[in-house]
């Protein structure tokens, strides 16, 4: 009997303490973000839409070696069309990333020997058409210049 009473007393104490803990949360700020108006501050390592790095002259660093293609776990995401220019250097004539297949693992960025591909912080990718989710070389280039402009603005 006494054991039961002491045990129920413990319960009551725990109940009161629990309520006080919940009450504490009134004074904390809400963690919700009103998304379309306010956007979350993203991590430095955030993996968003891809971009092909260009140097100051506007030339791609990519040499179309195909490493990204090989390390990509999702088969057929990256497609590269190789070509040689006049000075004998390889360059990608066409480079496309299919975001329908991409899993945003970031392997292509990590393994690129020239640092020619990066991931931007762009994440609002939803679209009406599947075909518009296939990024070709021009969009990948402009993604990079856009991300640089965004960085400068900040």
């Amino acid at each position: 009997m006494i054991k039961k009473i002491t045990k129920s007393f413990e319960y009551i104490v725990a109940l009161v303490l629990g309520h006080l803990t919940v009450l504490k949360h009134i004074f904390k700020k809400p963690v919700t973000l009103e998304y379309p108006e306010k956007k979350a501050v993203l991590n430095e390592n955030f993996r968003g839409e891809h971009a092909l790095v260009t140097d100051s002259g506007g030339n791609l660093l990519c040499t179309a070696c195909g490493t990204c293609q090989r390390v990509c776990p999702s088969f057929g995401t990256i497609e590269i069309e190789k070509d040689k220019n006049e000075s004998g250097k390889f360059y990608p004539k066409n480079y496309s990333i299919d975001l329908n297949k991409c899993i945003f693992c970031g392997n292509c960025v990590n393994y690129c020997p020239f640092g020619a591909i990066v991931m931007t912080k762009e994440y609002e990718l939803s679209n009406q058409k599947k075909s518009s989710l296939i990024l070709d070389i021009n969009t990948l280039k402009s993604n990079y210049s856009d991300s640089i402009i965004e960085k400068k603005e900040k």
């Binding site: 629990g18 309520h19 919940v22 009450l23 949360h25 904390k28 700020k29 009103e34």
Partner: protein, 364 residues
């Protein structure tokens, strides 16, 4: 009531209306006020609940419709009104329609029993407290009716659980009510409030001699209103919604409305029984201090009394939401065990203590 009546007649005389109209319409006025206030209150209670729960869980709550989401519930209500009223095949049509009305009308009726101020105590029966408990148990019947009439075994099971719970929690509630009646020596709710006046501010409130009773009544109110942690008849995450599964549109809105209205009335009732009803917690009324004992001060006292009881009621409602934000749901056997093994003996203990208190302190 006489003073307000005098004012009302004077107001009518300004527009050259005879006194006879005043005599006829005056008793109807409180009902109209009460009905309008109740519906507005319910609409904003739903919003308040969502907002308070959001603050407790560090969210923002509804904030899109209107400023700070104020019109969210109105939008929801319009949505419910527009929706189709579906009657399931094989349902008892008459009872199916009757149940939501039966849930809502008693709530409207008992709303008038509570003394909102010394002058606004317009259904003042000598057995007011008993009448309150009697009418308050009619919606339980409506719940059983709704479960039976919808021709759905899950609805029936949900309603049976709900009724079993409400009936077993009514018992300790009534025993605590007896204790309050012993303290006040009256069953009239107005008299119960007046019995809580004392020389010192808020020392005469019945929460002090019977704090245990207050806790029991609060828990019983939670159970009777099917609120968390006793919300297993309509456990949102497990049972969809219990007895009102088959209801849609306006009929569902009636159940919803009745539930929140009942919550408000229960809290007002507890505030009347234990927290001094419309009495000011300072021992004097602010309006008489500020505006003097004259004409204006005397009128404003009525409104101040309404303000105090609403403040106490909203404090209790906040506590209910606080409990909902904190506690998980009980199991069915725990629920019944708690009512019969803990609350009933505790309420009897409370009654014994209150009787001894009354006998030794107020015996002449």
């Amino acid at each position: 009531m006489n003073y307000l009546y005098y004012l009302y007649i004077q107001f009518l005389a300004k527009y050259h209306l005879p006194e006879a109209i005043g005599m006829i319409t005056f008793p109807l006025l409180p009902f109209i006020i009460v009905a309008v206030v109740l519906i507005v209150m319910v609409i904003f209670l739903v919003l308040l609940e969502r907002k308070v729960l959001a603050i407790f869980t560090q969210r923002k709550g509804p904030n899109r419709v209107g400023p700070w989401g104020l019109f969210q519930t109105i939008a929801d209500a319009i949505k419910l009104l527009i929706k189709e009223n579906i009657t399931p095949v094989g349902a008892e049509k008459f009872m199916f329609t009757l149940a939501p009305l039966l849930a809502f009308i008693p709530v409207m009726a008992i709303w008038g029993l509570i003394p909102f101020s010394a002058e606004f105590d317009f259904i003042s029966y000598s057995v007011g407290a008993l009448l309150f408990m009697t009418i308050a148990s009619i919606p339980i019947l409506a719940i059983l009716l709704a479960g039976y009439a919808s021709n759905n075994k899950y609805s029936l099971l949900g309603s049976m659980r709900s009724v079993a719970q409400a009936i077993s929690y009514e018992l300790p509630f009534v025993f605590v009510l007896v204790a309050v009646v012993v303290l006040a020596s009256s069953m009239n709710l107005g008299q119960i409030v007046l019995a809580q006046t004392s020389v010192y501010p808020f020392c005469g409130w019945f929460i002090f001699p019977s704090f245990l009773g207050f806790l029991i009544v609060f828990i019983c109110a939670l159970a009777e209103l099917n609120r968390c942690p006793f919300d297993l008849p309509e456990a949102e995450s497990e049972l969809v919604s219990g007895y009102n599964t088959e209801y849609s549109g306006m009929r569902f809105a009636f159940f919803f409305l009745a539930e929140y209205a009942m919550m408000f009335i229960m809290c007002a009732f507890i505030a009347t029984l234990f927290l001094g009803g419309y009495l000011s917690p300072f021992g004097f009324y602010l309006s008489t201090k500020i505006f003097g004992n004259g004409h204006l001060g005397q009128i404003l006292v009525y409104f101040e009394q309404v303000f105090w009881i609403f403040l106490k009621t909203f404090f209790l409602i906040f506590c209910m939401m606080w409990v909902r934000a904190t506690l998980p749901r009980l199991k069915s056997n725990q629920l019944m065990g708690f009512a019969w093994k803990v609350l009933l003996p505790a309420s009897l203990l409370n009654l014994l203590f209150v009787c001894l208190y009354k006998y030794f302190l107020f015996a002449k």
